[in-house]
Every structure is written in C-alpha cells, then in structure tokens.
C-alpha cells in the first residue's frame, strides 16, 4: 500500500500529523518502532505503554493497543499486562525522567525479574514537556532551566548510565544504546529495536534500547545543531553500541 506521497504505508503508524517540535527525536523513534512492528508482522499482538511526557499521546500515532501509565510506572504496568497476556508483545516507551528518575525502582526490578518485555528508553538529557529542567541524564555542565550555570556534580550528582547499570542484572538479556543523529545511526537504531522485539518473541527475557534523541527546543539549538550535539557531547558520556547480548 502506498500513501499520497507514493511512500510505502506503515500499517502500525496512523497517517496523521504529529504534534512534536521541529527536529524532535520522537517522530523518528515512533516511526522506527512502527516499521519494525510491520516487518515482524506483530501489530495485532502489540500492547504499548505510552509515557508521561511529550510522547503521552503516542496512541494518536500508533495504530495498535496502547495504555497510559503513571509517571515512572510503565515497567510495573507492562509486568501486569505481560503476565496476563504472555503471548502478546508488550513494550514501554519511556523518557529519561520517567525511566531513570521517578521510575528507577520499577525499571531495575522489572529487568531483575527478567520480565519478557521490551523497553525503548528515550534519552534526550532533559525534561522536555515541563520546559527543559535537569534530567537524571543531563550532562555535566549542561545548562537547563534548573541548572542555570550548568549541571554541577557537587550539587546535582552525575548523569545516570542506565544501560551499564541494568547490564549488571542477570534478568536483562539484551541492552543496546543507539542514537538518532545520522542516517547510519538511525538504521542501527532500527536494527536494535527489531532485536529487542525478537528477544521478546523468543522468550529470552528483558530487552532495552536506549535511544539518544534530540530535543532542539529545550537544548536551544537548531535541529541540525542538535544532531551534531548528540555526536559531539552525548556519545562521549553515553557510548553507542551493544552493552549486553546474552
């Protein structure tokens, strides 16, 4: 099936304009997830969990079953769903505030139980929807609405490396960090998402893909500069690649 622009239609993605800011990474991440779902032909088995944050209305774009969850709680909600519907494919889509701050306990214990779900962790080093406050992944020295002179490790602590932290847990089976900063990286991001779903389909256990994603609005950069910022600044603290593949 082709759409009006003669592009191959993605069945899992609704053909509607998205509300995201210009250059936002969510649009790319949403599309990649939907492409992978189509390619694996699992749309009718999908149950997604939309996060609190800019992507909360992801269900307006995703054309499969979705539930909201309270901030930080998607891994617990996913646990409940997957245990009741073990043959369905369950994933959470969470930002850095959601997963790495308010929901740290939930993600660690979900991974540690080896829940057979997939997690897509959008790391843009900032709180997007609430107006650019410091995130648990905000880089040292990065200026935000709540770190006006830059993140200070004495005051604010260090950016949290979720992949490396979760890789210590035997329940976590596949963990990779990717970026949406170039065509090449985007293709790798898609391969990682597919592998995460395959890990779940093969009943291997917990999988997580951390996605370094641009937030030009709150970074006060142009979309093109934001992509460069990921490559120049973020990847040196958050190195790309497979962190764990059991």
């Amino acid at each position: 099936m082709k759409d009006e622009n003669n592009k191959e239609k993605i069945k899992s993605l609704r053909n509607v304009p998205m509300h995201y800011c210009p250059g936002c990474g969510h649009t790319i991440a949403h599309r990649l997830i939907c492409e992978v779902i189509d390619e694996l032909d699992i749309r009718e088995k999908m149950i997604g969990i939309a996060p609190v944050g800019c992507a909360v209305i992801a269900y307006d774009y995703w054309n499969f079953d979705v539930t909201e969850a309270a901030h930080g709680r998607p891994p617990a909600v996913a646990t409940g769903i997957k245990r009741v519907e073990p043959d369905k494919i369950v994933f959470t889509y969470q930002g850095d505030g959601d997963l790495a701050s308010i929901g740290t306990a939930e993600i660690i214990h979900c991974a540690n139980r080896g829940e057979n779900i997939s997690v897509f962790f959008i790391n843009n080093a900032i709180y997007g929807m609430t107006g650019g406050q410091m995130a648990p992944t905000t880089l040292i020295g990065q200026k935000t609405a709540t770190t006006l002179t830059g993140r200070d490790i004495k005051r604010d602590g260090y950016p949290l490396k979720i992949c490396e932290l979760l890789a210590l847990l035997p329940g976590a089976k596949y963990i990779e960090r990717v970026a949406l900063s170039s065509a090449e990286n985007i293709r790798q991001a898609k391969r990682a998402m597919k592998k995460a779903f395959q890990t779940q389909i093969e009943n291997k256990g917990f999988s997580l893909v951390e996605i370094l994603s641009p937030c030009p609005t709150n970074w006060r950069l142009s979309p093109a500069e934001a992509m460069k910022w990921i490559d120049k600044k973020m990847t040196s603290y958050f190195p790309l690649g497979v962190v764990k593949d059991d």
Partner: protein, 356 residues
C-alpha cells in the same frame, strides 16, 4: 445459607479474603509485605500457584498497584492488598484506575497511624477511603465487613461491583478482622461469576480497531465531559449500591452507629442495654461509600439520637452529621492509635447521652 453440602472451616479474615478472591475468579495478585495483612499475601502466593494465576511480590506498593493496573487493563480480575501506610502509597495508582475506568479490588486491613504508627487495629483511613484518597474528583466503592464470613462474601461482591462499574473497590477491614479466626461456611456450588465481557481491554487489536486506555484528555472541554460521565456513574452507585444493617431502630431512642470490628462491640452493648430496658438500636453501614445518608436522615426526622462509635477520633461521625442535617442529636465516642472502645466505655457514653 447452610445446607448439607456446605463446608465449615476455621480461618483468619486475611485468608478468607484471599480465598474469596480465588472463588471470584481473581487471576492476578501483586502485593508488598506489611503487617497486619501478611497472611493474605502469603495465602495468595500459595493459591495462585495452585490455580494457575499470577502472584508477584512487588518491589513497592507503587509497583504493586501499577501491576494491578496493567493486569486489569489486559482484562484480568486483579487485586492488591496492604495496610494503611501502604495504601497511602497506592493512592496514585487508584486515582489512575478511576481515571482510566479500570476495575480492581484493593484490600486495606487498617492499622493505627499517622505515619508509621504501629500494627494495632484502627479505623483511621475512613476519610481516605470514602473521599477518593488520591488526586482528582472521584470515589471508590468501600465495603466494610465485620466478620470473617462477611469479609469472604463482600470480597466476592467487590470483584463483581468493580467489573460492573469499571471502578476500583476497596475492602476496608482492620487488623482485628484480618488476624482473628472464625468459622467460615463455604458453599459447594461455585460462586456465580459475572462472565463480564471486556471489549475495552488491551489484548492486541486482532480483528478490531485498537483500544486505548487513558485518563489524559487535553482538548478543551473533553476532560470535563469525561468527569461528568464519572460523576454520573458515581450517582448511579449512590442510588443502587447502598448496603447497611439496621437493628432495633424502630422503637430506639438512641441508635449506635458503627462499622467493622467496633460494630460487634456495639452489638453487645445494644443487647445488654436492651436487657436493662433501654431502647437502643444499631446501624451498621456495610458500604461506607455510598453511605446510607437517606435512612439515617429519616430516623433523624423521628428525633432519634445517634451515638457514633469508631476506632478513630471521629471520621464517619461527619457523615452521620451530614445525614442528620441537624434535626437530631449526634454524639461521638472513639479511640484511636490502636485503642478499641470497650463495652463499659460505650455503655457509659450511652447512659450520659440518654439522659442529655
């Protein structure tokens, strides 16, 4: 209710509530240890493995209620249980359950607070249970058993009401009810389950349009419409689901009003007072929300006095006063922090009130 095929067993309130959940078709339990309801969690651990259901000891109360949210979203009959401090932690999840119109059963075997308090029985969570408890405008149905048998029966009803109204239901007991053992009559025929279809559940969109479970409504006026629908549902519950027990109110001059554990003491006081010739009655609300305002209001018209007895410092008291609308006298006696009003204490209050 008894017949020759009935089976009588001796169990604690916690175990009775657990068995009732299994009988009601509950297939998912998540909980976190807290006294005085630990026997219920342990019971569910055993029974879920026997019946093929899911038991999860969650990392926190927050996680437990959100696991229940997920299981309920996927269409299962799901429950969690805790005691007062743990129920405070669950309030976020309960608000989301209501907002998303998801059924769930939450058991609160209350202990004394505030704060960590201690593990002795109390009724200090009445406001929290009957006024919503979390953020936003909402209500949860609150069922208050006073015996092990009734705890069993109300727990089954809780699942039915939760599914019927797509709303969380709270079974509100206290440490005494949870811990004490009493005979429980189990009936041989399986309890009739409402074979509730849940076309709204997220189960994968095979051969249907995708389902979305949400409590977020951003467009102007849509959230207000959503709230109006919730309020309409609450009004329907207030109309249809009020339950209470009424004893000797017809000729009573003073009516004791009490629920749960302390209502049993009030029953004994009433009987003793009656034997001495005092015209004393008893009202025992079984649903704390919806509260039996109407029947108390009618008795207030007849100038009957109400003596409210609670294991707290006066919470249901406010509902009785609202019901009486100032038309008759309302007095209160209660003890909190684990103190339980004793027969003699209630009798003394009753005597003073009768003479006033």
């Amino acid at each position: 209710m008894n017949n020759k095929n009935s089976r009588r067993i001796l169990v604690s309130g916690n175990e009775a509530v657990g068995e009732a959940a299994i009988q009601a078709g509950c297939t998912f339990y998540a909980g976190y240890p807290i006294t005085p309801q630990n026997e219920l969690t342990a019971y569910m651990s055993r029974r879920m493995s026997e019946t093929g259901g899911t038991f999860i000891q969650a990392e926190s109360e927050l996680a437990a209620i959100n696991m229940v949210f997920g299981a309920s979203a996927a269409g299962a009959r799901a429950m969690t249980s805790s005691s007062s401090p743990g129920i405070s932690l669950k309030q976020e999840g309960i608000s989301y359950l209501v907002g998303c119109k998801l059924p769930a059963v939450i058991v609160n075997m209350m202990r004394a607070g505030p704060g960590l308090g201690n593990i002795t029985p109390a009724q200090g969570d009445y406001f929290q249970a009957t006024r919503g408890g979390g953020h936003g405008d909402y209500r949860t149905i609150v069922l208050a058993p006073s015996s092990v048998q009734e705890a069993f029966e109300l727990q089954i009803l809780a699942f039915d009401l939760a599914d019927k109204y797509r709303n969380p239901v709270i079974l509100l007991g206290d440490g005494t009810l949870g811990q004490m053992m009493e005979p429980l009559t189990l009936h041989p025929t399986p309890y009739t389950l409402h074979a509730t279809q849940k076309p709204w559940a997220v189960t994968g969109c095979k051969e249907r349009e995708p389902n979305v479970i949400r409590s977020l409504f951003l467009k102007e006026g849509v959230l207000e419409e959503h709230n109006k629908k919730l309020q309409k549902k609450f009004a329907e519950i207030e109309k249809k689901e009020i339950r209470y027990e009424e004893k000797n109110t017809e000729d009573a001059e003073v009516i004791l009003v009490a629920y749960g554990t302390v209502s049993r003491i009030c029953q004994a006081v009433m009987e003793k007072a009656r034997r001495k010739g005092a015209k004393v009655g008893l009202i025992r609300p079984i649903t704390l929300w919806p509260f039996p305002y109407g029947m108390i209001n009618k008795l207030a018209d007849l100038k009957k006095k109400f003596l409210v007895i609670e294991m707290n410092y006066g919470q249901m008291l406010e509902d009785v006063k609202l019901a009486a609308e100032g038309k008759s006298k309302v007095k209160f006696y209660g003890r909190g922090g684990g103190g339980i009003p004793q027969e003699e204490e209630i009798m003394t209050e009753l005597l003073h009130f009768s003479l006033s």
